[in-house]
């Protein structure tokens, strides 16, 4: 089941014949003997294996950070992959120097991942500041430094890059001039153009083969199954977009979490979007994970599934005979069981454009606030007219075998007035639809309590003048 794969690794065109389920990390470390990229967790939770992935989009290379330990080589066709070896120059890069100056590396095992992540940040962001630079390395775990020296390095780095940036020069001229990336980066675009024609893949979506977009959960849970089965790797072949009609927003199935996060269309209707997404995975995971993947994976705590359930999203399912529309809330039948036949796949996700009196909030509670799997997550949306609930959707993750749409509650609160008494009603009613179990993420009593507390939080955030601190305590 090997497949032809062609891409640019650092400054070299690589052509190989590999099982597409081979992880990029194993290819880099074991086949190419580039050992600067480290293996630590093999589940995308630490960033030690982070590499930079570049691809051409509208005549520009877009660079993104990915975790190579859960990234299949079947998805790297026609891409530029950059490891720490591909960043090293005769002198230290300003990022490397900033780490040296602050002793921001102790045992050193995590360090290449941090350097790579920060380089990718400088390659990809329009503007640089301390906070967004920290966000860019938030998926990198360091067990030695306590991060303070890393924070100091980042602070110094951003100041110096901003001070030395010439607005007259192009980005690549700046980056090469400041020695952030080596000279060869200038020639990558041509190299990618050159090989792109060689690697046109025929994608067959409706033959019942498993379709792999980002694979960020599958490669954690079932790496060996993937090696032994035939799958369709689509992330390097199908570009997906978020588009709008007059009344709807259409999200392509292969849209990544980070695309969703950065979408102007989504951002317009969900002003708190970045705050919610900040709690959802690390940047390299958000870069790879797809929305459709999150939905079909059917994890009871899938963050985007809960988000989309809370706004009553619809799916378009396709096979070679027909296309049908289904509400996401009707898609989940039981634990990991879906209203989807083997030959069907999600082609897009549709959400109705919210009206003016639309209220939405998303909450997620986990043991560690960031880069953790939710204990309980929840979304709530409401349309209010004259203080009366006209439409409501409430979802909870982690309290049932499926991402839970609170069907009864969402209906029960229709026609009710937004007044302090409503809160207790919703809190009490919510407990009827839950079936939490005790597990590693918390006891069932805790999860039930969290549901009550999150409801209070939703109301406090959305209607602070009605559900004041006094009302919710």
């Amino acid at each position: 089941m090997e497949a032809q794969i062609k891409f640019v690794l650092n400054d070299e065109i690589v052509e190989c014949f590999e099982n597409p389920a081979l992880t990029l990390l194993d290819f880099i470390r074991k086949h190419k003997k580039l050992t600067g990229t480290k293996e630590v967790c093999r589940e995308g939770d630490c960033g030690a294996c982070a590499v930079i992935k570049g691809e051409i989009n509208e005549n520009k290379i877009i660079y993104k950070l990915i975790n190579s330990c859960i990234y299949p080589i079947g998805n790297v066709n026609a891409k530029h992959i950059v490891t720490i070896e591909g960043l090293n120059q005769s002198e230290f890069t300003p990022i490397q120097q900033a780490f040296i100056d602050e002793a921001a590396s102790q045992c050193g095992f995590c360090t290449p991942g941090f350097i790579t992540a920060l380089t990718c940040y400088l390659l990809s962001e329009e503007q640089y500041n301390y906070n967004t630079a920290v966000d860019a390395i938030a998926g990198n775990i360091c067990r030695c430094t306590g991060y303070m020296s890393i924070r100091r390095s980042v602070n110094n780095l951003i100041d110096s890059v901003n001070a030395n940036w010439s607005h007259k020069l192009s980005r690549i001229d700046n980056l090469v001039g400041l020695k952030i990336v080596p000279e060869y980066f200038r020639g990558i675009q041509n190299k990618l153009m050159e090989i792109s024609t060689d690697v046109v893949k025929t994608i067959r979506l409706n033959e019942g083969k498993r379709i792999i977009c980002g694979g960020t959960d599958l490669f954690v849970q079932h790496p060996d199954d993937l090696t032994d089965s035939e799958n369709e790797y689509v992330s390097d072949s199908i570009a997906s977009e978020i588009t709008e009609t007059e009344t709807e927003i259409h999200i392509g199935a292969n849209v990544s979490f980070e695309q969703f996060n950065r979408s102007d269309i989504i951002g317009l209707y969900f002003p708190g979007l970045h705050e919610y997404m900040h709690l959802i995975a690390s940047l390299p995971i958000r870069n790879a994970a797809s929305i459709a993947g999150n939905i079909v994976n059917a994890s009871p705590i899938g963050d985007l599934s809960i988000f989309l359930l809370g706004i009553n999203a619809k799916l378009i399912l396709v096979n070679n005979k027909r296309q049908r529309e289904i509400n996401l809330k009707d898609f989940y039948k039981g634990y990991k069981s879906l209203d989807k036949s083997d030959d069907e796949y999600i082609s897009k996700i549709i959400i109705n454009k919210p009206s003016e009196n639309f209220y939405f909030n998303f909450e997620k509670v986990s043991k560690r606030q960031h880069l953790d799997i939710a204990t309980v997550n929840s979304a709530m949306s409401m349309t209010i007219e004259d203080e009366i609930v006209k439409e409501a959707h409430l979802s909870f993750g982690g309290v049932a075998p499926v991402p839970l749409y609170m069907a009864k509650l969402s209906k029960d609160i229709l026609g009710r007035k937004i007044e302090p008494g409503l809160l207790q009603y919703v809190v009490d009613d919510s407990q009827n639809e839950l079936a939490p179990i005790s597990d590693i993420r918390g006891s069932k009593e805790y999860k039930s309590l969290l549901v009550k507390q999150i409801i209070k939080k939703h109301f406090n955030v959305l209607f602070p003048e009605v559900f004041t601190a006094e009302v919710i305590t």
Partner: protein
């Protein structure tokens, strides 16, 4: 001087064991470990596995040529299980194959028949059943039974602390190369090369001298590779010894977490008695240590617990009982602090409890009991150069406790849903291995004819910067550029009979040994320089900035020239020297003595912020005054404080080890065991050096740094509790760490 290792780290060019380029014939080793926490081992059948693709050999206990025993302190740990398995993760067999994929695949085809036996995971239950690692140990001072009568207040309570996964980023690993005859070279990611060498010798039945263990650097350890690295190095050595091929063993993360020991969970009972003025008169405590299935380092860890019963406080009457309980969990082991943090959490809980119940403020009790010079620690050592109160008062002066407390109160007045909490955490930590004999080290310094310098010690570099410190010592002593100095790998052939790089002692012991070697060579070079410069008195000779000075005047004679000339005169340019910490002893028959060369002190102020609706918290402020002595390398030392602090905070907050009743680890991956990330750092952090701290035991008056800062993290527990109390005035809560968001919310609302 910057840490030279960092230059390689940032380029990804530092070589770790998994990065080494190996000969093509190298075999890859997979380990099959026990699926049950307690079971009879009826049979192990390797037939199917042996026939799998690429498999060269499958080895079980029957294939061990020497003794099937790797126990360090107590001989109770087999290399490969024989009749019984005692924890999930206990190694049963190894597969050697041409690739790691083939080896791991084949391991699944080893057929093991188990007969399940009852499982104990709880320390107190083990104690009740008489399942102990060794007889209980008691440390006692004063007359505790009489002392209770003198107290105005007496309180009792129970305290729990959880385990902690080291989560060194580099998993356990080793490569063993067969050499001529039955000799071996073993590269191991260990803090204790001699322990590896000794265990291999025993298991293979070959002399220690035939085994060379070499350690270049570790990708983190934190105590997790002091004793626990041995198992994997010995298994790879066994494979190489039998197949006569190089054998590489790298544990995958999921297995590393499952099979390796962690920080010991403790369950403790205390009784504390105080006077109305807050003076503590008596403290009694029983520690139930959950040791796991084998002794490993548990007796030593427990002993350090008993040394740190009173943290920074002077308590005249103490009785502390330590019980090491044998359970069906992975053998727990060393972890930064080595039993000290567990003891300190108990005494702080007792003080906090006494404060709440007596109405005296927690901070008043803390401050008024800080140990002073001349007072006795409960193990008989007289307190000298105490910096306990100095650190507290300096912190008070620099950070204005009263103002910070006022700000917290004002914030809490204004905010109903978010509350801040405040605490102060003093730390006093004894420096030296508590087994006095381990406080020895040797160093080997060579000066080559081009003036470059090679330095070998027993210190293992694991990120803590010990090599940088040793380099600083050599550069300072010889007054040469640090570029001349190479710190060699840690190697049992160059440095024999070494102690582990542990107990925060790496720079002290090895630095002092290096100083002796440098002094020896320097004396010879001074004599040689005196001859060259025709000066009668060699005491007038000095070295500065690579030149020889006479009576303070620079001469033409450079370091390199002098070295060359000395070589031609057949002067010895190498020195091997030996250091043993003076003045220390400890009598285990009475548990009294002077076990520590000195103590490290410090005080941390902590403010946290709590979301009282969702139970989440964040760290607002941590401000520390720490007693570094005269720091050898301020940047390295600050890094140790910040890193230790966050690790301690992790232990107190989100790092939760959970086992099922069957003894199965549930927090078994990075997605279920969470360590602090970059967002969890304190928003404000400040670390100040205590001025004028002297220490004749540390090289150039420095003090050990590795472990003490971890215990500042304990203050975060009490700060969160303080914030909870601001939300819920009548809060009643057990003293149990970690204080996860779950515990916070359940205690606020249930």
């Amino acid at each position: 001087m910057n840490n030279p290792d960092v230059n390689k780290h940032v380029r990804g060019e530092s070589i770790f064991i998994d990065d080494i380029s190996l000969p093509a014939e190298t075999l890859h080793c997979a380990v099959l470990d026990s699926a049950f926490a307690h079971a009879g081992l009826v049979s192990i059948n390797t037939n199917r596995a042996e026939k799998m693709n690429g498999v060269i050999a499958v080895l079980t206990s029957k294939d061990i040529p020497g003794e099937n025993q790797i126990g360090g302190i107590i001989q109770d740990e087999t290399l490969l299980a024989v009749d019984e398995v005692k924890y999930i993760g206990e190694p049963l067999a190894i597969v050697l194959a041409d690739s790691i994929t083939n080896a791991r695949k084949a391991a699944a085809y080893i057929d093991v028949e188990y007969k399940k036996l009852p499982v104990i995971t709880d320390a107190r239950e083990a104690c009740k059943n008489g399942s102990l690692i060794q007889q209980p140990t008691i440390f006692e001072s004063g007359d505790i039974d009489k002392a209770w009568g003198e107290c105005d207040f007496v309180y009792e309570g129970r305290v729990e602390t959880g385990g902690q996964e080291h989560l060194y980023l580099e998993t356990q690993c080793a490569v063993a190369y067969p050499k001529e005859e039955d000799k071996l070279l073993v590269l191991s990611s260990t803090q204790h090369p001699t322990a590896v060498q000794r265990a291999i010798s025993r298991v293979l039945g070959i002399p220690m001298s035939n085994i060379e263990v070499d350690v270049l650097r570790l990708g983190g350890a934190f105590g997790g590779k002091e004793d626990q690295a041995t198992h994997w190095a010995v298994l790879s050595a066994l494979g190489a010894h039998i197949t006569r091929k190089p054998v590489k063993l790298v544990l995958p993360r999921y297995q590393d977490i499952r099979v390796t020991g962690k920080r010991h969970p403790y369950s403790s009972d205390y009784k504390i008695g105080l006077k109305k003025n807050g003076k503590i008169i008596a403290f009694e405590v029983i520690y139930y240590q959950n040791a796991g299935a084998c002794a490993d380092l548990s007796p030593a860890v427990l002993e350090r617990t008993l040394f740190h019963v009173t943290n920074s406080y002077f308590i005249p009457n103490v009785r502390a009982t330590g019980i090491s309980c044998k359970t069906n969990l992975v053998p727990n082991t060393a972890f930064r602090g080595f039993g000290g943090p567990q003891a300190m959490f108990v005494v702080e809980s007792a003080l906090h409890d006494a404060a709440e119940k007596s109405g005296i403020s927690y901070q008043t009790i803390q401050k008024s009991n800080l140990i002073k010079d001349g007072e006795l620690f409960h193990y008989g050592q007289t307190c000298e150069n105490s910096n306990a109160l100095k650190c507290w008062e300096e912190a008070e002066r620099l950070y204005d406790f009263i103002q910070i407390k006022k700000n917290v109160d004002e914030f809490n007045q204004k905010n109903k849903l978010v509350k801040k909490g405040f605490s102060i955490m003093p730390v006093c930590f004894g420096i030296s291995f508590t087994s006095s004999f381990l406080n020895q080290a040797s160093a080997l310094v060579h000066i080559y004819t081009d003036g470059s310098i090679g330095v070998s010690t027993a210190a293992v570099e694991m990120g803590q910067g010990v090599n940088t410190k040793i380099k600083t010592i050599v550069a300072e002593k010889f007054s040469v550029s640090s570029d001349r100095i190479k710190i060699e790998s840690t190697n049992t052939t160059r440095i024999a009979n070494s102690s582990a790089t542990a107990a925060s002692s790496g720079a002290d012991l090895n630095g002092n040994a290096v100083l002796l070697s440098c002094s020896n060579i320097l004396e010879r070079l001074k004599k040689s320089a005196a001859e060259e410069l025709v000066t009668e008195d060699k005491s007038e000779i000095e070295f500065a900035d690579e030149f020889v000075f006479v009576n303070g005047k620079k001469t033409e004679l450079t370091w390199t020239k002098l070295v060359q000339k000395s070589y031609m005169k057949r002067i010895n340019l190498s020195s091997h020297s030996f250091y043993a910490t003076p003045e220390i002893y400890f009598d285990r028959t009475i548990n009294k003595g002077r076990p520590f060369a000195y103590h490290v002190y410090g005080t941390a102020l902590i403010v946290v912020e709590l979301d009282c609706i969702l139970g989440r918290y964040k760290l607002d402020t941590v401000k520390i005054v720490h007693d570094f002595g005269k720091s050898l390398h301020p940047k390295v030392d600050i890094g140790q404080v910040e890193g230790g602090l966050l690790q301690g905070i992790g232990w107190m907050t989100m790092e939760e080890i959970i086992y099922s009743q069957e003894g199965r680890l549930l927090s078994n991956s990075l997605s279920t065991y969470k360590v602090p990330d970059i967002y969890f750092t304190p928003q404000n952090i400040e670390v100040n050096f205590l001025e004028e701290s002297i220490n004749k035991f540390g090289p150039f008056n420095s003090k050990a740094i590795g472990e003490p800062p971890l215990m500042y993290g304990i203050g975060v527990y009490f700060a969160i509790r303080n914030a909870m109390k601001a939300y819920k005035k009548n809060l009643v809560m057990d003293y149990s760490a970690p204080l996860t968001p779950e515990k916070v919310l359940m205690n606020l609302f249930m």
